[in-house]
Subunit: 209 residues, 2 copies
């Protein structure tokens, strides 16, 4: 179902489709037209059809989408129907918030462990996730073939840590350090979380002309 | 410089432009062609020209952009050249992380206060921000004409709190509760932060075909 050369704009809409479809599904809605889905999501119906055509297209003109089926197809496109492994580096406020509140399973991930340099929290278990010493990280990542590392460490360590993770064989880095990261190995994906982009978008919308 | 009917896709690219232009500026780069900027940002040169045309267009064909000027123009479009007021509701892990680490000033905001129901932290001062009791919130927001409220409270309280904030006259809500919020008053903007969209995008990219 995957296609090459799908634009990042389309890829970034997929989680949003999943979010809306999942809500419809949870509310017991079985069918929805592309027009109704478009209205709810603030897109156009033709945009939605184009997006799904990137993955082969689903639904039949005039019949609308079967919510349950489309939801599963989108889940499969995103890859959340499989389980990927993740660890978290840095158990500060953001790290702790993610461990406690983020629904990793819903996003296709199993969080295996957290790592920190602070000996006063190493050994703790937060929400069933063990906090391990950072000098066990390399062996743990290699042995468990960890796919994704979540960076919630101070910005100063971001770049070097990302390269080290890349060398250890992770496929992806979820970066909360506010440093725009790229790693040398092109097969490692970095997803930079920019709170400031979101806050600036809000700034635009509340600012007077 | 503002225009009506600029699409959200264009608006959402503005903070990204600012981020890249600011980095060029910090590195002492004075001129950049739309092509070079496009390459760095993973866009096309024509996309960049189209985006800026939404706001009147800057730069002259063949001469490239003056980094300093364009950075200031983008700042003005976004509204971060003015100072907007904000308060934060909920001093849990995410709230605390934002107070400590988020650069509000760079995003055009001054954080005035934080509110929490937990009497054991009310009275604390975190990074010069006072933690006030939640029953002082209404008066504080009205008296200080607070423009934006940042929601880092438990999801269960999100909807009711958002409506209350809307009644109190805030213009925007920055929502970290993982609940997709809308408020009845259409003039109040809600910016929902969805960590899951970001994690799912990463999931897509690391998943095998």
């Amino acid at each position: 179902m995957r296609k090459e050369n799908v634009s990042m704009a389309v890829i970034r809409r997929m989680p949003k489709y999943y979010r809306y479809l999942d809500e419809l599904y949870q509310n017991g809605i079985q069918k929805i037209s592309s027009r109704a889905l478009a209205e709810q999501m603030g897109l156009t119906a033709s945009q939605i059809r184009q997006d799904f055509n990137c993955f082969g297209g689903f639904g039949q003109q005039g019949y609308g989408y079967n919510v349950d089926t489309l939801r599963e197809q989108v889940a499969s496109i995103i890859g959340i129907d499989r389980t990927h492994s993740a660890v978290i580096l840095g158990v500060g406020n953001i790290g702790r918030a993610l461990i406690r509140n983020f629904n990793f399973v819903q996003c296709g991930f199993q969080l295996l462990a957290a790592f920190d340099t602070d000996t006063s929290i190493v050994g703790d278990v937060i929400h069933q996730i063990p906090v391990l010493p950072v000098d066990e990280m390399d062996a743990f990542i290699r042995e468990n073939k960890v796919e994704v590392a979540i960076l919630t460490i101070p910005a100063a360590f971001a770049k070097a840590t990302a390269e080290r993770l890349s060398d250890l064989g992770v496929k992806g880095i979820w970066n909360f350090t506010n440093v725009e990261l790229q790693v040398k190995n092109p097969s490692v994906t970095v997803e930079n979380v920019h709170f400031s982009d979101s806050m600036m978008t809000l700034c635009y919308q509340i600012s007077e002309d």
